[in-house]
Each structure stands twice: as structure tokens, then as C-alpha cells.
Symmetry: none
Subunit: 404 residues, 2 copies
């Protein structure tokens, strides 16, 4: 990314504070009956106030037409290239349930699967066993397998047939193949090192997988083995401190977002489950950090459920709570989302996301509402998510002159 070539020359520390407020999946699509999106339907005078006060635009999470998962969505907002810096699926799965992963450790997504006596995979999801059954199996496996060849193994339930595994030890590498044949009716595949450095990891995983099958043989469950997928490790990524000279904190309620924030070196602040508690935490720690990332999850959840009015209501609730921001001094605030989650699609989407940038050092435009269509007419126009961070740094006067 071109910014990396410039940043070391221009970045500087000062006392100004930055807030990145992410309303997860905030953007939407028009309801067919009213022609209005969730944001256009909601009564959100405070969000509108910030749109009016600031410069507006819309942001493209990755590329036009590309729908991001939470990983790329946030990595981009944090100012990294979401195509260059990809967080492995195993890492995201583990972060998503709050497992601790350090550099050099290996994170894996596991699927409990039905496997017959000839090692043929009969059902790649073991009939989607209930989460409680999964918990019992994981407990049993944890008790019986703690370490293989000096490598510590931690396994945790995600839900249904899904679990997450972390390997901890020396000389580990994600350069190994997977054991999932991808199709039912085919035999389990032996895990092989893809490079010399993957040798130990492949041995450990093959042994682990064999032992799991031994253990599950004696259990009354459709789960008879485990498919190991998304075998990955933390990406090499400069932290906020290194890259931006920022002491940064994350306020989030879901493990996934805390996890991604930890990957970029943010401190994770203890907070409660509600939006109110998140803003309380912001107030409490206000003096201690240069940069706050506040993540609000519920907008996305209602979108994913296809609950249009639920999303409208939560937007209105956020709007009421957001009032507190007017009493905290930030030199630069961005209010935006990591992607859109239109209730009409019941999923993340590719649509550009509204952005309001509030700072004394930006030009307000005539946008008066925090909506997709209004913000698209804003003075910031269309940006990439990965550019927002640099506008925040610039508006807080933390970027010096490039070149003489």
C-alpha cells in the first residue's frame, strides 16, 4: 500500500484524540414498500447532527462489488490493505470465541464430522450436532489430549458442529495441507507439510486427528472425527503504535472485534453488553488513550436476521446513546460501518457505507442526514475504507508534510 511508503516520514505524535465509531453493517437497501433504507426510515437526529456538522462520504470496504467478512471490513478501517493483509479463517474463528492467539501459534477451524470405519467422510457436519453435545465432546477431548510432541493443544466449542483449536509451541507453521476431502464419500486426507517448516505441525495434527477418532469411537454421537480447516497464524502486521504512534483502545462487546483489535495492538477495555456501557467505558478511559475504536454490533445482527424494523429501532437506540459524544473532545471522529448489512439481503453486502467525519479541520458540506443516499453526495465523495484512518490522522493533525 502506498501509504506505507509515506507514513514513516510524516507521522507525528500530538495530544489530539481520535474516535472511530463503527456501527457494524450500518448500511442497507430500500424496503420495497417504502423505498427507504433502514437509515432513511429511522429517526436519528443525533447521527444527522454529526452528518450535518461534518464532512460526509461513502466508503467501499474492499473493492466495488466485493462483500467483506468482518476481518477485511475492520482491517481496512484500521488503515491496512484488506487484500494484502488477510487474517486466516482459523485465526478469525479462534478470535471470534475469545481464544488467545500469539505470534507463532497456529489457529484452526474444526468441524466435527461423521466418518466411517474406513475413514470415509459420511457427513462433513456430523448432522449439525447440538452445541451442548459439541461441548461434551470438546470437554472429553480436552481432558484426553493436552500435548503432542511438545506442542500444547487447546480445543474449544464454537457452535453446532464447529470448534476451534490452537496449537502452542516451538517450530510451528501454517504451511500444511488440510485433512478435509471437501466432498462427502471421500476418505480423510493426510495432512502434509507444504514447506519443510510445516513438518512438525503436520505430524502433530495427524496424530491429534487420529487420537480424536479413537476417543470418539467410544462415544454415542454422530461426530466420529474432526476436519481441520483454515489452518493459519497471525499475519505479520505493524501495530497501531508502530504504524501510527497511537496508543489505541478497543471497546467492543463481541470477541471477534476484540480479537482483530488485539491483532493490531490495541488494548481491549473491559466493558458491558450495552451501548450505554460501551460509551461509559469510553468516558472512563478517555484520558488514557490517543485513539478509541468503539464497535456496536447490533445493527449487523438485525440486518443478518432480515429484521428491517429491528434494525431501524436499534439505529434509533444508538442515536439516543450517541449524544454523549458531544461532551467528549475529539479532534477527529469517524462514524461509519465496516460494511452494509441490508435487511433485504439478510447478509453482509458490497454497498458503500455512509461516513461522517467530524473535525474542526475538515470542510462541512450540505449533507443533513446520515443515510446512504445523502452521504453519497457529501464532500468526501467515494473513498476506500482503508483511507479513512489517514483522514482521521490528518484531521487530528498527526500527519506532517510529505516531501519538502
Amino acid at each position: 500500500m502506498d501509504y506505507e511508503k509515506i507514513l514513516p516520514e510524516v507521522i507525528k505524535k500530538n495530544e489530539n484524540k481520535i474516535l472511530l465509531l463503527v456501527l457494524d453493517g450500518v448500511g442497507g437497501l430500500p424496503h420495497p414498500e417504502t423505498g427507504k433504507t433502514e437509515l432513511e426510515t429511522a429517526n436519528i437526529p443525533n447521527l444527522d447532527y454529526f452528518a450535518k456538522k461534518g464532512s460526509c462520504g461513502v466508503i467501499i470496504p474492499v473493492l466495488p462489488g466485493i462483500t467483506p467478512g468482518s476481518g477485511p471490513g475492520h482491517i481496512a478501517l484500521f488503515g491496512y490493505d484488506p487484500i494484502e493483509i488477510q487474517i486466516g479463517r482459523g485465526v478469525l474463528e479462534c478470535l471470534g470465541i475469545g481464544m488467545d492467539i500469539k505470534k507463532g501459534e497456529i489457529a484452526i477451524r474444526g468441524n466435527f464430522a461423521t466418518i466411517d470405519e474406513n475413514n470415509i467422510v459420511i457427513d462433513r457436519r456430523a448432522g449439525r450436532i447440538p452445541t451442548e453435545e459439541n461441548e461434551k465432546l470438546v470437554e472429553l477431548i480436552s481432558r484426553n489430549i493436552k500435548e503432542i510432541k511438545g506442542v500444547k493443544i487447546e480445543i474449544r466449542t464454537v457452535k453446532e458442529h464447529r470448534c476451534a483449536i490452537v496449537l502452542r509451541g516451538e517450530n510451528l507453521s501454517p504451511a500444511v495441507s488440510e485433512n478435509d476431502p471437501q466432498k462427502e464419500g471421500l476418505p480423510l486426507v493426510e495432512i502434509k507439510p507444504l514447506k519443510e517448516e510445516g513438518k512438525l505441525t503436520a505430524e502433530v495434527l495427524n496424530e491429534f486427528e487420529r487420537k480424536v477418532r479413537e476417543i470418539l469411537k467410544k462415544v454415542n454421537s454422530k461426530a466420529k472425527g474432526i476436519l481441520l480447516r483454515g489452518i493459519s497464524t497471525l499475519p505479520h502486521i505493524p501495530s497501531f503504535q508502530e504504524k501510527y504512534k497511537l496508543k489505541a483502545a478497543c471497546i467492543a462487546t463481541y470477541p471477534m472485534y476484540k480479537g482483530i483489535s488485539r491483532v493490531v495492538g490495541m488494548d481491549i477495555l473491559e466493558t458491558g453488553e450495552t451501548i450505554e456501557e460501551e460509551f461509559e467505558t469510553l468516558k472512563k478511559y478517555y484520558d488514557e488513550y490517543d485513539f478509541f475504536f468503539v464497535h456496536i454490533k447490533k445493527t449487523d445482527s438485525f440486518g443478518e436476521d432480515g429484521n428491517f424494523m429491528g434494525k431501524v429501532k436499534i439505529l434509533e437506540e444508538i442515536d439516543r446513546k450517541i449524544w454523549v459524544l458531544k461532551n467528549l473532545k475529539f479532534e477527529a471522529i469517524a462514524i461509519t460501518g465496516d460494511h452494509s448489512t441490508p435487511s433485504m439481503l439478510k447478509s453482509h453486502s458490497w454497498h458503500p457505507v455512509p461516513l461522517a467525519l467530524i473535525s474542526p479541520n475538515t470542510i462541512p458540506d450540505d449533507v443533513e442526514k446520515f443515510t446512504e443516499r445523502d452521504c453519497a453526495k457529501g464532500i468526501l465523495g467515494k473513498l476506500y475504507s482503508k483511507e479513512v484512518m489517514y483522514l482521521l490522522l490528518a484531521c487530528s493533525l498527526k500527519l506532517g508534510k510529505f516531501g519538502a
Copy 2:
């Protein structure tokens, strides 16, 4: 192109259909007397209807300020990078007159030229001989030269002094120099291999060029030899099927556009000469394909002729015929052009081209007219042509989530 890193992970098949309707050279410039462009002058209620119904924007064919030929213009609309993927001039010339070129074959643009007895090039265009004279020369050459060193040679008239040549055989390569001295008064240049693999091709072309001079010695024509230029071969380019999992068809009246479509693996559908017949063909084959590229040439032709009112009239004709689209179900339609061809410039131009994207999965804006200035205010803002294809795929729900 960054899309290539993402596409294999996210592309998926479904039943939704896509239409890319290209009005060649549709954009224009204001008439000095009225201050209105061709699109602003024309009465085009149906195109306006689609602009109103959809999301609008303007597209940049290659880069701001860069005027594309038909090759880059279409390659970009097909979702390839027009700078990375260049179709050689020889290939375009041959495709333009409907010659068949396969992988490994060599396509060449030929200029009949006046060359004296000392091999000095006197006139690089042989006084722009009439097309009928060209046809007679080509007939004579074809009759006398069919094969050299086992390589089959086909020569065809383009027009005036221009002809097109295809070499077919084994071990051919475009890695050879040209024989055109570029300036009059200089001698013909010997064709040399630029790499080892170009050896045979250079030998064949030198021999061909000598034989042509022999033949033309005895003919009463200013054409006394042939300059061989744009020596090229089909680019390595993944097909629509490989890249997008799309069964794609092209409906076009001009050989050039059929040719470029064939390069990206589209089926070329038989159609007539009129816009009406092109839409009839679309209806007829509607069930058989996932993706249709419909190309309308006449907008460009009138622009190239500097015929402002002719272009206005053809826009109005297209507008009447386009009505049929309302009765065909497409999940995503893009109506746009490959570039602008302002009548005022009598040539292709660099100006961004209006785009209307119609889909239930996009946000309509308040653009009410399909013109340069109105579409520029649309919610899609300014895009690159190469991004349009990904919006079509996204809007037809053929792109899954990138990253977890």
C-alpha cells in the same frame, strides 16, 4: 488486478441473468450553439426511465484523460484490466474484419506501400489506393502465396491501403521486429526474431514480404510492397466461464466486437443488422445464457462522422427499441458505453461515460436522465469501466463473502 486475488474465493453460480448493453461511444460534448450534448438533446424517455429506476454513475474507460480504442474499451467493460490485458493491433485488425484467430496464430496489420527498386519506402500508404484496387492485389497475392515453410498464410483486405494477415502453423511467435521504417525515405527493415522462439516467424515474414514485392512488380499499382505491423497473438486471458463461471453470449453487428467477445470465450449469436434484430436475438436466446453482451454500434459511427444530429436521431431510435428490455427479467442490467465519441471531436474521447445500473439489489438515486451531467451526480459516483462487471456480478448475487 486485485479482483483476481479475490474472485476464485467468492464467485458462485446461480440462475440470475445479467445484461451488459453497450451503446458504443455514447457519451458526447455540448454543441456550441445549444450547450447541450447529444444525450441531452435527444428525446430518450426509455433510457431516462432506466436511469431513474437504477443507480447511476459515470465510468472512466482506462484512466482519466486516456482515450481508449475499442479493444481496451471493451476489455475493461468485461472486467479485465485494460492496461494489463492488451489485445495486439494485428489481432484487433483481423478480428475487426471477422478473420478467425486461434491461440498460437499470428495476426498482422499490413499497409500497402510504395517502395522503389532500392527498397526505399516512398509512400507508407501507397497513395491510399482505393479499396477495390486493394481487393484485386489481395486476390493476386492469395492466389500466389498460400504457404511458406509449412506456415499457412491468409491475407484479407481491410480498406484503402490496409490489409490483415494471419499466419497459421506450429512454432510461431509474435516476438519479432517489424519491417516498417516508420519514416518515408528510409529502406525497408529486415524482420528479426526478438527472442529465439521468433526465428521461424521472422523467416516466414521476410520471405512473404519479398514474394509480395515480386508479385507487385508486374502490377500497375502504386502498391509495390507491404509493411507488416502490429504483429501479435491472442493474449492469455481467462474466459468468462473460467473467471466468472458465466455462460456468456455476444450480440453484435460488427466483426470487431464479435472478435473481442470470442477472445473472452463468449458465444457469438447470429443476428441481423438492425437494433431491432439484435433485441430479437436477445429474446430468442434468453433462456440459454447467464450473461448477454449486446453491442450497438451506430452511436459511435455518427460521433466519428461529426454528425451531431445523426447521433441524436440514433439515440432516439435506440431508445424506442430498448423498450423490450422491460419485458425480460434480468437481475442486473448495465446500460453504458465503452467510451465517449463526441460529434464535436469526430473521434473517441476520454470523457467518463454515463452508466445506469438496474437491479433490485442496488439503491436508486435521484438521477432522472441518462446524460453525462445527470449520471455524474448518481450514487455510484465515478467508477472505472473494469469495475462495472463486478457490480453486475454482485447485484445478481453471484459474489459471496470475502474473508470470514
